[in-house]
Subunit: 192 residues, 2 copies
DNA sequence: GCAATTATTGACTGATCATTCAAGAAAGAC
DNA sequence: GTCTTTCTTGAATGATCAGTCAATAATTGC
């Protein structure tokens, strides 16, 4: 053993994530990051590797920590109110951010997919996760008789995931609750 | 009068647009652009101003030329087949691009909104255009008895526009026709 | 022809980019 | 204490960035 590091790795990663999330990969410089995260340049390189590796680490941390969609809203109540609560929570989350940020994985995908295979893999993995959440919940609902047997659960799950993307892009232009809520109204009306 | 320019302004703008569209604003350097568009650096600056002005000009040209959604598909036939044809054409267009590019306005918005007010204005203007197209078509359909009176035309139009965004983001990860088509199936099933 | 105007060219600016080097500081092992 | 290892710090690296300058070339008006 030797001299222990003076900073907390995850805290530094959180700070780096904030900057990458707000500005994207290209618009964020290593000097910006050094200033923002509060540790020395060399420590940053020693700990995370180069800029791209740091970006991927930040993206992974986002998925783990901040991108925590409130799935309990979906799971803790009947299907329709659950979906309504989830989509409303997403609207709240979008409108609460003063900088107009949207999900970091979406901005990362828009900026770097499919050119950047490692970002693409993370975006895909996240999409698969989200889809699986919806499939699980919809399957349960169908088994419980909350949802007609004629529905294609996989297609519905993909549709809901895609709708979440659309809602976020829309929020980039339309930052009023009524517009976004009306989109969600139509989106969920599919379930009758 | 004096020496006339040797290049065609719009042709140069098209070439610049190609690069900005494929890589985004930050990842495209003026040197890249000079190499790609085939005119001298100074000519580029003289003609379009700085990099950001060139980007906005390219974005405007995209809206005018390339972003030409095939609205005739929507207008030249009954509502439901028209919507189906339009969304299918979008899927075709997305899958046809070997680079996985999506609408330049979407990537521009994801990269720069709301930080860049001028990009935001263009993204909003486009959203308004698209929405108006849908509102017009849906209103005509309602007047023609193709669509029930109970439908909120404005909400439906916003929903369709948002769906187009979602479809594009989804295509960043899911590049197979069946998945995208199944999303469109669910999306349009709203109209009965 | 000549003057005036504009286009093109390529070298150039200082700033900023990601990354590394080298020296010093702090801790554990003995 | 000393040795070894790792961390930290700040200056440096060469590359690339957006944008400019100055000289040359080409055209119109006379």
């Amino acid at each position: 053993m030797a001299r222990p590091r003076e900073f907390d790795r995850d805290a530094v990663l959180d700070r780096a994530m904030e900057l990458f999330w707000a500005r994207g990969f290209d618009a964020t410089s290593m000097s910006d990051l050094v200033d923002h995260v509060g540790i020395g340049r060399q420590s940053l390189y020693d700990t995370f590797g180069d800029k791209h590796a740091l970006y991927l680490a930040a993206l992974d941390r986002y998925r783990l920590e901040r991108g925590s969609t409130p799935w309990h809203l979906l799971d803790d109540q009947p299907l329709r109110p659950g979906l309504r609560a989830l989509f409303t929570a997403v609207i709240d989350w979008l409108l609460a951010d003063p900088d107009g940020k949207i999900c970091m994985l979406v901005t990362a995908a828009a900026e770097r997919c499919p050119r950047d295979a490692e970002v693409a893999a993370r975006f895909c993995a996240n999409a698969t996760d989200v889809e699986r959440r919806f499939v699980d919940r919809l399957t349960r609902a169908r088994d419980a008789g909350e949802l007609g047997r004629h529905h294609d659960v996989t297609a519905l799950a993909r549709y809901l995931a895609s709708s979440l993307y659309g809602l976020q892009l829309t929020a980039k232009a339309q930052r009023d609750r009524a517009s976004l809520a009306s989109i969600v109204d139509v989106t969920l009306s599919i379930l009758g």
